[in-house]
Protein backbone atom coordinates (compact mmCIF):
# COMPACT_ATOMS: atom_id res chain seq x y z
CA UNK A 1 0.00 0.00 0.00
CA UNK A 2 1.37 3.38 -0.94
CA UNK A 3 1.48 5.86 1.92
CA UNK A 4 2.72 9.40 2.05
CA UNK A 5 3.73 12.06 4.47
CA UNK A 6 3.50 15.46 2.90
CA UNK A 7 2.56 19.06 3.43
CA UNK A 8 -0.83 20.32 2.30
CA UNK A 9 -2.49 23.70 2.03
CA UNK A 10 -5.93 24.59 3.34
CA UNK A 11 -8.16 25.27 0.35
CA UNK A 12 -11.22 25.91 2.50
CA UNK A 13 -12.32 25.19 6.05
CA UNK A 14 -15.96 26.18 6.26
CA UNK A 15 -18.32 25.72 9.19
CA UNK A 16 -21.14 23.84 7.45
CA UNK A 17 -23.26 23.52 10.60
CA UNK A 18 -22.64 24.73 14.10
CA UNK A 19 -19.52 22.95 15.36
CA UNK A 20 -19.16 21.00 12.10
CA UNK A 21 -16.60 21.82 9.43
CA UNK A 22 -15.65 20.72 5.94
CA UNK A 23 -11.90 21.01 5.42
CA UNK A 24 -10.50 20.79 1.91
CA UNK A 25 -6.75 20.27 1.61
CA UNK A 26 -4.72 20.81 -1.53
CA UNK A 27 -2.03 18.15 -1.92
CA UNK A 28 0.51 17.20 -4.60
CA UNK A 29 -0.62 14.90 -7.39
CA UNK A 30 1.53 12.14 -5.95
CA UNK A 31 -0.90 11.65 -3.05
CA UNK A 32 -2.38 8.19 -3.57
CA UNK A 33 -6.06 7.65 -4.26
CA UNK A 34 -7.75 6.91 -0.92
CA UNK A 35 -10.21 4.03 -0.86
CA UNK A 36 -13.53 4.73 0.90
CA UNK A 37 -13.14 3.97 4.60
CA UNK A 38 -9.45 4.90 4.71
CA UNK A 39 -8.21 7.76 6.86
CA UNK A 40 -5.46 10.35 7.03
CA UNK A 41 -3.45 11.74 9.95
CA UNK A 42 -3.47 15.53 10.07
CA UNK A 43 -1.08 17.60 12.16
CA UNK A 44 -0.50 21.29 12.54
CA UNK A 45 3.01 22.51 11.93
CA UNK A 46 5.07 23.69 14.87
CA UNK A 47 2.24 23.77 17.41
CA UNK A 48 3.23 23.18 21.01
CA UNK A 49 -0.43 22.81 22.04
CA UNK A 50 -1.10 19.92 19.66
CA UNK A 51 1.61 17.31 19.85
CA UNK A 52 0.01 14.38 18.06
CA UNK A 53 -1.59 14.20 14.65
CA UNK A 54 -5.34 13.48 14.55
CA UNK A 55 -6.98 10.76 12.47
CA UNK A 56 -9.82 11.68 10.10
CA UNK A 57 -11.78 9.58 7.65
CA UNK A 58 -11.52 10.76 4.08
CA UNK A 59 -14.88 12.36 3.20
CA UNK A 60 -14.03 13.28 -0.37
CA UNK A 61 -11.27 13.19 -2.94
CA UNK A 62 -10.83 15.00 -6.25
CA UNK A 63 -8.00 14.87 -8.73
CA UNK A 64 -7.33 18.10 -10.61
CA UNK A 65 -4.84 18.95 -13.35
CA UNK A 66 -2.17 20.28 -10.98
CA UNK A 67 -3.01 18.78 -7.62
CA UNK A 68 -5.52 16.81 -5.59
CA UNK A 69 -8.11 17.73 -2.95
CA UNK A 70 -8.74 15.69 0.16
CA UNK A 71 -11.94 16.59 1.99
CA UNK A 72 -12.45 16.02 5.69
CA UNK A 73 -15.81 16.48 7.36
CA UNK A 74 -15.33 16.86 11.11
CA UNK A 75 -17.04 17.86 14.32
CA UNK A 76 -15.27 19.93 16.93
CA UNK A 77 -14.88 17.50 19.81
CA UNK A 78 -11.70 18.41 21.66
CA UNK A 79 -8.46 20.35 21.63
CA UNK A 80 -7.22 19.03 18.27
CA UNK A 81 -10.40 19.76 16.33
CA UNK A 82 -10.76 23.14 18.06
CA UNK A 83 -7.35 24.14 16.70
CA UNK A 84 -8.14 22.65 13.30
CA UNK A 85 -11.34 24.71 13.10
CA UNK A 86 -9.26 27.89 13.38
CA UNK A 87 -7.19 27.06 10.29
CA UNK A 88 -7.49 29.67 7.59
CA UNK A 89 -7.25 29.40 3.82
CA UNK A 90 -3.64 28.99 2.67
CA UNK A 91 -2.31 27.71 5.99
CA UNK A 92 -0.27 24.55 5.86
CA UNK A 93 -0.74 21.23 7.57
CA UNK A 94 1.08 17.92 7.48
CA UNK A 95 -0.81 14.90 6.30
CA UNK A 96 0.01 11.23 6.11
CA UNK A 97 -2.03 8.58 4.39
CA UNK A 98 -4.12 7.14 3.01
CA UNK A 99 -4.07 4.69 5.92
CA UNK A 100 -5.98 1.66 7.11
CA UNK A 101 -8.34 -0.93 5.74
CA UNK A 102 -11.19 0.36 3.55
CA UNK A 103 -14.75 -0.86 3.08
CA UNK A 104 -14.75 -3.91 0.83
CA UNK A 105 -17.79 -4.43 -1.36
CA UNK A 106 -17.65 -7.70 -3.24
CA UNK A 107 -19.07 -7.99 -6.77
CA UNK A 108 -21.82 -10.27 -5.39
CA UNK A 109 -23.41 -7.39 -3.51
CA UNK A 110 -26.48 -5.75 -5.09
CA UNK A 111 -27.88 -3.86 -2.11
CA UNK A 112 -25.82 -1.51 0.00
CA UNK A 113 -27.28 -0.03 3.16
CA UNK A 114 -25.41 2.93 4.58
CA UNK A 115 -26.05 3.80 8.22
CA UNK A 116 -24.66 7.05 9.61
CA UNK A 117 -25.00 8.43 13.11
CA UNK A 118 -24.02 12.09 13.52
CA UNK A 119 -20.52 12.81 12.22
CA UNK A 120 -20.34 9.12 11.27
CA UNK A 121 -21.43 10.33 7.86
CA UNK A 122 -17.81 11.41 7.22
CA UNK A 123 -16.50 8.19 5.59
CA UNK A 124 -19.92 7.23 4.16
CA UNK A 125 -20.09 10.47 2.18
CA UNK A 126 -16.98 9.37 0.27
CA UNK A 127 -18.18 5.78 -0.02
CA UNK A 128 -21.50 6.91 -1.49
CA UNK A 129 -19.80 9.23 -3.98
CA UNK A 130 -17.39 6.47 -5.03
CA UNK A 131 -20.16 3.91 -5.49
CA UNK A 132 -22.07 6.32 -7.72
CA UNK A 133 -18.93 7.23 -9.68
CA UNK A 134 -18.28 3.59 -10.51
CA UNK A 135 -20.86 4.09 -13.22
CA UNK A 136 -23.15 1.89 -15.18
CA UNK A 137 -21.54 -1.55 -15.06
CA UNK A 138 -23.14 -2.14 -11.65
CA UNK A 139 -26.74 -1.63 -10.69
CA UNK A 140 -26.43 -1.22 -6.96
CA UNK A 141 -29.38 -0.24 -4.89
CA UNK A 142 -28.21 2.10 -2.14
CA UNK A 143 -30.39 2.84 0.87
CA UNK A 144 -29.18 5.44 3.32
CA UNK A 145 -30.23 5.66 6.98
CA UNK A 146 -29.06 8.94 8.43
CA UNK A 147 -29.51 9.89 12.06
CA UNK A 148 -28.48 12.82 14.22
CA UNK A 149 -29.39 14.43 17.52
CA UNK A 150 -31.21 17.23 15.79
CA UNK A 151 -32.00 18.53 12.31
CA UNK A 152 -29.07 20.96 12.43
CA UNK A 153 -26.66 18.08 12.72
CA UNK A 154 -27.95 16.22 9.67
CA UNK A 155 -25.04 16.84 7.33
CA UNK A 156 -24.99 16.52 3.56
CA UNK A 157 -28.71 15.88 3.46
CA UNK A 158 -29.44 17.13 -0.06
CA UNK A 159 -26.39 15.56 -1.74
CA UNK A 160 -27.16 12.28 -0.06
CA UNK A 161 -30.79 12.43 -1.12
CA UNK A 162 -29.70 12.89 -4.74
CA UNK A 163 -27.13 10.10 -4.73
CA UNK A 164 -28.91 7.26 -2.96
CA UNK A 165 -32.07 5.39 -3.86
CA UNK A 166 -33.89 5.74 -0.54
CA UNK A 167 -33.04 8.11 2.26
CA UNK A 168 -34.39 7.54 5.76
CA UNK A 169 -33.83 10.45 8.10
CA UNK A 170 -34.04 10.22 11.89
CA UNK A 171 -33.51 12.72 14.68
CA UNK A 172 -33.35 12.09 18.40
CA UNK A 173 -35.32 15.28 19.18
CA UNK A 174 -38.02 14.69 16.53
CA UNK A 175 -36.98 17.81 14.60
CA UNK A 176 -36.96 15.95 11.29
CA UNK A 177 -37.91 12.56 9.88
CA UNK A 178 -38.40 9.53 12.06
CA UNK A 179 -38.38 10.50 15.73
CA UNK A 180 -35.78 8.35 17.46
CA UNK A 181 -32.72 6.26 16.72
CA UNK A 182 -31.49 5.59 13.22
CA UNK A 183 -31.49 1.88 13.92
CA UNK A 184 -35.29 1.83 14.41
CA UNK A 185 -36.46 2.31 10.79
CA UNK A 186 -33.66 0.00 9.68
CA UNK A 187 -34.88 -2.68 12.04
CA UNK A 188 -38.43 -2.33 10.71
CA UNK A 189 -37.30 -2.73 7.11
CA UNK A 190 -34.50 -5.20 7.66
CA UNK A 191 -36.23 -8.31 6.41
CA UNK A 192 -36.92 -6.66 3.07
CA UNK A 193 -33.21 -6.94 2.26
CA UNK A 194 -32.01 -10.30 0.90
CA UNK A 195 -29.40 -11.98 3.08
CA UNK A 196 -27.21 -13.17 0.23
CA UNK A 197 -26.48 -9.93 -1.63
CA UNK A 198 -26.84 -7.12 0.91
CA UNK A 199 -24.08 -5.31 2.77
CA UNK A 200 -24.45 -2.72 5.52
CA UNK A 201 -21.70 -0.11 5.87
CA UNK A 202 -22.02 1.88 9.07
CA UNK A 203 -20.29 4.58 11.05
CA UNK A 204 -21.51 6.33 14.15
CA UNK A 205 -21.51 6.34 17.94
CA UNK A 206 -20.68 3.06 19.71
CA UNK A 207 -24.26 2.81 21.00
CA UNK A 208 -25.53 2.78 17.41
CA UNK A 209 -22.99 0.15 16.35
CA UNK A 210 -23.88 -1.98 19.32
CA UNK A 211 -27.61 -1.75 18.56
CA UNK A 212 -26.85 -2.75 14.97
CA UNK A 213 -25.02 -5.82 16.17
CA UNK A 214 -28.09 -6.81 18.25
CA UNK A 215 -30.43 -6.35 15.30
CA UNK A 216 -28.15 -8.37 13.05
CA UNK A 217 -28.04 -11.19 15.52
CA UNK A 218 -31.68 -11.85 14.58
CA UNK A 219 -31.19 -11.25 10.87
CA UNK A 220 -27.53 -11.78 9.94
CA UNK A 221 -26.88 -9.34 7.12
CA UNK A 222 -23.19 -8.72 6.42
CA UNK A 223 -22.05 -5.50 8.02
CA UNK A 224 -18.83 -3.50 7.97
CA UNK A 225 -18.35 -0.69 10.47
CA UNK A 226 -15.84 2.11 10.61
CA UNK A 227 -14.57 2.60 14.17
CA UNK A 228 -12.85 5.46 15.91
CA UNK A 229 -10.32 5.35 18.75
CA UNK A 230 -7.66 7.70 20.07
CA UNK A 231 -4.37 7.05 18.32
CA UNK A 232 -0.89 8.51 18.58
CA UNK A 233 0.83 7.46 15.36
CA UNK A 234 -1.69 6.04 12.88
CA UNK A 235 1.08 3.75 11.62
CA UNK A 236 0.54 0.69 13.81
CA UNK A 237 3.33 1.35 16.29
CA UNK A 238 1.79 2.95 19.38
CA UNK A 239 -0.89 0.27 19.97
CA UNK A 240 -3.06 3.04 21.36
CA UNK A 241 -6.12 2.50 19.13
CA UNK A 242 -7.08 -0.92 20.40
CA UNK A 243 -10.46 -2.53 19.76
CA UNK A 244 -11.49 -5.90 21.20
CA UNK A 245 -12.28 -8.39 18.46
CA UNK A 246 -12.66 -12.12 18.00
CA UNK A 247 -9.38 -13.46 16.63
CA UNK A 248 -8.93 -16.14 13.95
CA UNK A 249 -9.36 -18.91 16.55
CA UNK A 250 -12.29 -17.27 18.28
CA UNK A 251 -10.17 -15.87 21.11
CA UNK A 252 -10.42 -12.29 22.34
CA UNK A 253 -7.67 -10.03 21.10
CA UNK A 254 -7.01 -6.34 20.63
CA UNK A 255 -6.53 -5.15 17.09
CA UNK A 256 -5.44 -1.74 15.89
CA UNK A 257 -8.06 0.60 14.46
CA UNK A 258 -5.28 2.15 12.34
CA UNK A 259 -4.07 -1.09 10.73
CA UNK A 260 -6.58 -3.92 10.99
CA UNK A 261 -9.30 -1.21 10.80
CA UNK A 262 -10.73 1.35 10.83
CA UNK A 263 -13.26 -0.81 8.96
CA UNK A 264 -14.10 -4.05 10.75
CA UNK A 265 -16.63 -6.79 10.22
CA UNK A 266 -19.30 -6.06 12.81
CA UNK A 267 -19.57 -9.70 13.84
CA UNK A 268 -15.87 -9.76 14.87
CA UNK A 269 -16.31 -7.01 17.44
CA UNK A 270 -16.59 -8.03 21.09
CA UNK A 271 -18.77 -5.94 23.34
CA UNK A 272 -18.07 -6.89 26.97
Amino acid sequence: MRQFMMGGLVESNAEVREGHYLLSLRLPLSFALPLPGQFVMVSLKGRKDMLLARPFSVSGFNRRAQDVRVEILYRVAGQGTRLLARLGIGEDVDISGPLGRPFEISPAINNVILVAGGIGIAPLRYLLASLKAQGTDRTLRIDFYMGAKTVDELLELETTRCLCDNLHVCTDDCSMGHPGLVTEPLEQAIKSYPLNDTLICACGPLGMIRRLSEILMQYPLACQVSLEERMACGLGACLGCAVAVRGPNGEKQYQRVCREGPVFNLRDILWD
Partner: protein, 312 residues
Protein backbone atom coordinates in the same frame (compact mmCIF):
# COMPACT_ATOMS: atom_id res chain seq x y z
CA UNK B 1 45.79 18.35 7.05
CA UNK B 2 43.34 20.82 8.54
CA UNK B 3 41.58 21.29 5.22
CA UNK B 4 41.29 17.56 4.62
CA UNK B 5 39.77 17.01 8.05
CA UNK B 6 36.98 19.47 7.29
CA UNK B 7 35.50 17.14 4.71
CA UNK B 8 35.62 14.04 6.86
CA UNK B 9 32.19 13.41 8.37
CA UNK B 10 32.36 13.36 12.16
CA UNK B 11 32.61 9.94 13.77
CA UNK B 12 29.34 9.19 15.58
CA UNK B 13 30.20 5.68 16.76
CA UNK B 14 29.67 4.79 20.40
CA UNK B 15 30.13 1.63 22.45
CA UNK B 16 27.57 0.37 24.94
CA UNK B 17 29.53 -2.40 26.66
CA UNK B 18 30.53 -4.78 23.86
CA UNK B 19 27.82 -3.38 21.59
CA UNK B 20 29.13 -1.08 18.86
CA UNK B 21 26.70 1.48 17.41
CA UNK B 22 27.25 3.55 14.27
CA UNK B 23 25.55 6.46 15.99
CA UNK B 24 24.07 7.08 19.43
CA UNK B 25 20.40 7.30 18.42
CA UNK B 26 18.17 4.33 19.20
CA UNK B 27 14.44 3.81 19.14
CA UNK B 28 12.69 3.67 22.50
CA UNK B 29 10.86 0.44 23.21
CA UNK B 30 7.16 0.49 22.44
CA UNK B 31 7.32 3.40 20.02
CA UNK B 32 8.71 1.66 16.96
CA UNK B 33 6.80 -1.62 16.86
CA UNK B 34 9.07 -4.32 15.51
CA UNK B 35 10.61 -1.99 12.93
CA UNK B 36 8.36 -2.90 9.99
CA UNK B 37 5.90 -0.10 10.70
CA UNK B 38 8.55 2.53 9.99
CA UNK B 39 10.41 0.95 7.08
CA UNK B 40 8.25 2.79 4.49
CA UNK B 41 9.54 6.07 5.87
CA UNK B 42 13.27 5.52 6.35
CA UNK B 43 16.18 3.19 5.78
CA UNK B 44 16.35 1.26 9.05
CA UNK B 45 20.12 0.91 8.50
CA UNK B 46 20.46 4.57 9.49
CA UNK B 47 19.43 3.96 13.10
CA UNK B 48 21.99 3.38 15.87
CA UNK B 49 19.98 0.49 17.29
CA UNK B 50 16.40 -0.70 17.17
CA UNK B 51 14.85 -1.42 20.55
CA UNK B 52 11.72 -3.44 19.89
CA UNK B 53 8.39 -3.39 21.71
CA UNK B 54 8.62 -5.10 25.13
CA UNK B 55 8.33 -8.86 24.93
CA UNK B 56 7.09 -11.33 27.50
CA UNK B 57 7.35 -15.11 27.56
CA UNK B 58 3.70 -15.56 26.63
CA UNK B 59 1.67 -13.22 24.42
CA UNK B 60 -0.08 -10.43 26.32
CA UNK B 61 -3.41 -8.96 25.29
CA UNK B 62 -2.77 -5.55 26.83
CA UNK B 63 -5.21 -3.18 28.48
CA UNK B 64 -8.71 -2.28 27.31
CA UNK B 65 -9.14 1.04 25.51
CA UNK B 66 -8.92 3.98 25.84
CA UNK B 67 -5.16 3.54 26.08
CA UNK B 68 -3.82 6.95 25.22
CA UNK B 69 -4.59 10.58 25.87
CA UNK B 70 -2.77 13.68 24.76
CA UNK B 71 -1.87 16.05 27.61
CA UNK B 72 -0.07 19.40 27.45
CA UNK B 73 3.19 18.82 25.55
CA UNK B 74 2.96 15.11 26.11
CA UNK B 75 0.84 12.00 26.13
CA UNK B 76 -0.31 9.40 28.59
CA UNK B 77 -0.32 5.77 27.55
CA UNK B 78 -1.51 2.62 29.24
CA UNK B 79 -1.08 -0.01 26.56
CA UNK B 80 -0.26 -2.67 29.14
CA UNK B 81 2.61 -4.34 27.27
CA UNK B 82 0.49 -5.89 24.53
CA UNK B 83 2.90 -8.13 22.62
CA UNK B 84 3.06 -11.30 20.58
CA UNK B 85 5.31 -13.23 22.98
CA UNK B 86 8.92 -14.23 22.55
CA UNK B 87 8.35 -17.32 20.35
CA UNK B 88 6.24 -15.48 17.79
CA UNK B 89 8.76 -12.63 17.84
CA UNK B 90 11.65 -14.95 17.01
CA UNK B 91 9.65 -16.79 14.34
CA UNK B 92 7.87 -13.91 12.62
CA UNK B 93 9.54 -10.57 13.43
CA UNK B 94 13.25 -11.26 13.86
CA UNK B 95 13.81 -12.50 10.25
CA UNK B 96 12.71 -9.08 8.97
CA UNK B 97 15.03 -7.26 11.36
CA UNK B 98 17.98 -9.51 10.44
CA UNK B 99 18.03 -7.97 6.95
CA UNK B 100 19.48 -4.78 8.41
CA UNK B 101 22.92 -3.98 9.80
CA UNK B 102 21.32 -2.16 12.70
CA UNK B 103 21.73 -3.96 16.04
CA UNK B 104 18.49 -5.22 17.53
CA UNK B 105 17.95 -4.74 21.26
CA UNK B 106 15.09 -6.72 22.71
CA UNK B 107 13.21 -5.19 25.60
CA UNK B 108 12.03 -7.93 27.96
CA UNK B 109 9.31 -7.93 30.59
CA UNK B 110 8.41 -10.65 33.07
CA UNK B 111 6.29 -11.13 36.15
CA UNK B 112 8.90 -13.21 37.97
CA UNK B 113 12.67 -13.45 38.21
CA UNK B 114 12.59 -16.98 36.78
CA UNK B 115 10.65 -15.80 33.75
CA UNK B 116 13.22 -13.08 33.12
CA UNK B 117 15.89 -15.76 33.14
CA UNK B 118 14.04 -17.98 30.63
CA UNK B 119 13.36 -15.02 28.35
CA UNK B 120 17.02 -14.01 28.39
CA UNK B 121 18.05 -17.57 27.55
CA UNK B 122 15.62 -17.92 24.65
CA UNK B 123 16.65 -14.63 23.11
CA UNK B 124 20.36 -15.38 23.50
CA UNK B 125 19.88 -18.53 21.42
CA UNK B 126 18.10 -16.61 18.66
CA UNK B 127 20.13 -15.27 15.78
CA UNK B 128 20.02 -11.52 15.31
CA UNK B 129 19.56 -10.27 18.88
CA UNK B 130 22.43 -8.00 19.92
CA UNK B 131 21.50 -6.91 23.43
CA UNK B 132 18.72 -7.11 25.99
CA UNK B 133 16.98 -4.23 27.69
CA UNK B 134 15.41 -5.34 30.94
CA UNK B 135 12.12 -3.58 31.61
CA UNK B 136 11.75 -3.18 35.35
CA UNK B 137 9.90 0.06 34.94
CA UNK B 138 6.56 -0.36 33.17
CA UNK B 139 3.90 1.57 35.13
CA UNK B 140 0.92 0.02 33.34
CA UNK B 141 0.89 -3.62 34.39
CA UNK B 142 -0.32 -5.13 37.64
CA UNK B 143 2.54 -7.52 38.36
CA UNK B 144 6.29 -7.21 37.75
CA UNK B 145 7.30 -4.12 35.83
CA UNK B 146 7.70 -1.19 38.10
CA UNK B 147 7.58 -3.40 41.22
CA UNK B 148 11.07 -4.66 40.35
CA UNK B 149 12.33 -1.23 39.46
CA UNK B 150 11.43 0.63 42.63
CA UNK B 151 13.29 -1.69 45.00
CA UNK B 152 17.10 -1.66 44.72
CA UNK B 153 17.46 -5.27 45.91
CA UNK B 154 14.80 -6.61 43.53
CA UNK B 155 16.33 -4.61 40.67
CA UNK B 156 19.73 -6.13 41.44
CA UNK B 157 18.28 -9.63 41.67
CA UNK B 158 16.59 -9.36 38.26
CA UNK B 159 19.82 -8.01 36.77
CA UNK B 160 21.92 -10.85 38.21
CA UNK B 161 19.53 -13.52 36.95
CA UNK B 162 19.42 -12.04 33.45
CA UNK B 163 23.24 -11.69 33.39
CA UNK B 164 23.59 -15.33 34.45
CA UNK B 165 21.30 -16.43 31.63
CA UNK B 166 22.94 -14.55 28.75
CA UNK B 167 26.22 -13.42 27.22
CA UNK B 168 24.52 -10.51 25.49
CA UNK B 169 25.05 -6.99 26.83
CA UNK B 170 22.35 -6.24 29.40
CA UNK B 171 20.81 -2.79 29.64
CA UNK B 172 18.50 -2.16 32.60
CA UNK B 173 15.70 0.34 31.96
CA UNK B 174 14.90 2.42 35.02
CA UNK B 175 11.75 4.06 36.23
CA UNK B 176 11.64 7.71 37.33
CA UNK B 177 8.90 6.89 39.84
CA UNK B 178 11.37 6.56 42.73
CA UNK B 179 12.92 8.91 45.26
CA UNK B 180 16.53 8.31 44.22
CA UNK B 181 17.00 6.89 40.74
CA UNK B 182 20.79 6.96 41.05
CA UNK B 183 20.61 4.53 43.94
CA UNK B 184 18.73 2.02 41.76
CA UNK B 185 21.29 2.60 39.00
CA UNK B 186 24.17 1.87 41.38
CA UNK B 187 22.42 -1.23 42.57
CA UNK B 188 22.01 -2.70 39.07
CA UNK B 189 25.56 -1.67 38.18
CA UNK B 190 26.87 -3.64 41.16
CA UNK B 191 24.74 -6.59 40.00
CA UNK B 192 26.52 -6.61 36.64
CA UNK B 193 24.40 -4.45 34.32
CA UNK B 194 26.36 -3.36 31.24
CA UNK B 195 24.36 -0.14 30.91
CA UNK B 196 21.27 1.60 32.18
CA UNK B 197 18.60 3.39 30.15
CA UNK B 198 16.41 6.06 31.67
CA UNK B 199 13.79 7.26 32.05
CA UNK B 200 10.71 5.15 31.43
CA UNK B 201 7.46 7.11 31.60
CA UNK B 202 6.33 9.11 34.62
CA UNK B 203 3.07 7.85 36.11
CA UNK B 204 0.29 10.33 35.44
CA UNK B 205 -3.47 10.75 35.19
CA UNK B 206 -6.05 12.75 33.31
CA UNK B 207 -9.78 13.18 33.96
CA UNK B 208 -12.68 13.84 31.57
CA UNK B 209 -14.59 16.53 33.48
CA UNK B 210 -17.82 16.07 31.48
CA UNK B 211 -18.00 12.38 32.29
CA UNK B 212 -16.07 12.73 35.60
CA UNK B 213 -14.14 9.64 34.59
CA UNK B 214 -10.45 8.96 34.00
CA UNK B 215 -9.55 9.35 30.32
CA UNK B 216 -7.73 6.02 30.44
CA UNK B 217 -9.30 2.65 31.13
CA UNK B 218 -6.29 1.87 33.34
CA UNK B 219 -6.98 5.11 35.29
CA UNK B 220 -3.28 5.99 35.35
CA UNK B 221 -0.81 5.93 32.49
CA UNK B 222 2.79 6.72 31.63
CA UNK B 223 3.56 10.31 30.66
CA UNK B 224 5.99 10.85 27.80
CA UNK B 225 6.93 13.57 25.35
CA UNK B 226 8.44 17.06 25.69
CA UNK B 227 6.69 17.59 29.05
CA UNK B 228 9.03 15.14 30.78
CA UNK B 229 12.33 16.17 29.22
CA UNK B 230 13.65 18.45 31.97
CA UNK B 231 12.88 15.81 34.60
CA UNK B 232 14.50 13.05 32.56
CA UNK B 233 17.55 15.14 31.75
CA UNK B 234 18.08 15.93 35.43
CA UNK B 235 17.87 12.23 36.29
CA UNK B 236 20.30 11.23 33.54
CA UNK B 237 22.75 13.84 34.79
CA UNK B 238 22.42 12.53 38.36
CA UNK B 239 22.95 8.93 37.30
CA UNK B 240 25.94 9.75 35.06
CA UNK B 241 27.63 11.22 38.13
CA UNK B 242 27.04 8.12 40.24
CA UNK B 243 27.80 5.15 37.95
CA UNK B 244 30.63 4.25 35.61
CA UNK B 245 28.66 2.09 33.15
CA UNK B 246 27.21 3.76 30.04
CA UNK B 247 23.95 5.67 30.52
CA UNK B 248 21.37 5.80 27.74
CA UNK B 249 19.19 8.89 28.05
CA UNK B 250 15.58 9.19 26.99
CA UNK B 251 12.52 11.25 27.71
CA UNK B 252 10.92 13.79 25.40
CA UNK B 253 13.61 13.90 22.72
CA UNK B 254 11.95 15.47 19.69
CA UNK B 255 14.87 17.22 17.99
CA UNK B 256 18.63 16.99 17.59
CA UNK B 257 18.98 19.76 20.16
CA UNK B 258 17.13 17.67 22.74
CA UNK B 259 19.45 14.72 22.01
CA UNK B 260 22.51 16.97 22.30
CA UNK B 261 21.45 18.05 25.79
CA UNK B 262 21.44 14.42 26.92
CA UNK B 263 24.83 13.72 25.31
CA UNK B 264 26.35 16.84 26.85
CA UNK B 265 25.27 15.85 30.36
CA UNK B 266 26.96 12.51 29.77
CA UNK B 267 24.55 10.06 28.14
CA UNK B 268 26.54 7.70 25.88
CA UNK B 269 23.48 7.23 23.68
CA UNK B 270 19.87 8.34 23.49
CA UNK B 271 16.52 6.79 22.68
CA UNK B 272 13.75 8.49 20.75
CA UNK B 273 10.18 7.52 21.61
CA UNK B 274 7.11 9.71 21.37
CA UNK B 275 8.73 11.72 18.57
CA UNK B 276 8.33 8.69 16.28
CA UNK B 277 4.56 9.05 16.65
CA UNK B 278 4.65 12.73 15.81
CA UNK B 279 7.11 12.50 12.92
CA UNK B 280 7.90 9.13 11.35
CA UNK B 281 11.26 10.54 10.23
CA UNK B 282 12.24 11.97 13.62
CA UNK B 283 15.21 9.62 14.07
CA UNK B 284 17.00 10.29 10.76
CA UNK B 285 16.40 14.02 11.32
CA UNK B 286 17.98 13.82 14.79
CA UNK B 287 21.01 11.85 13.57
CA UNK B 288 21.57 14.39 10.82
CA UNK B 289 21.26 17.26 13.29
CA UNK B 290 23.84 15.75 15.63
CA UNK B 291 26.30 15.41 12.75
CA UNK B 292 25.72 19.01 11.74
CA UNK B 293 26.33 20.20 15.29
CA UNK B 294 29.62 18.32 15.52
CA UNK B 295 30.80 19.78 12.21
CA UNK B 296 29.77 23.26 13.27
CA UNK B 297 31.73 22.90 16.50
CA UNK B 298 34.64 21.26 14.68
CA UNK B 299 34.44 18.04 16.61
CA UNK B 300 35.70 14.96 14.77
CA UNK B 301 34.30 12.40 17.21
CA UNK B 302 31.13 12.32 19.29
CA UNK B 303 33.25 11.41 22.33
CA UNK B 304 34.33 15.06 22.42
CA UNK B 305 30.70 15.99 23.05
CA UNK B 306 29.62 13.29 25.48
CA UNK B 307 29.86 14.51 29.07
CA UNK B 308 31.25 17.89 28.00
CA UNK B 309 28.92 19.85 30.30
CA UNK B 310 30.69 22.94 31.56
CA UNK B 311 30.12 24.37 35.01
CA UNK B 312 28.54 27.77 35.29
Amino acid sequence: MGLEQKNVPPDLTVDIGSLKLKNPVMTASGTFGYGEEYSPYMDLNQIGAIVVKGLSLEPRMGNAPPRIMETPCGMLNAVGLQNIGVRAFIATKLPFLRQFETPVIVNIYAESVDEFSILAQKLSEAQGVHALEVNISCPNVKKGGIAFGTDPDMAAEVTRRVKDATDLPVIVKLTPNVTDIAMIAQSVEAAGADAVSLINTITGMSVDVDKRMPHLWNITGGLSGPAIKPVALRMVWQVVNRVSIPVIGLGGIMTAEDALEYLIVGARAVQVGTANFVNARAIPDIIEGIGKYLRKHQMTHIDELIGSLRSR
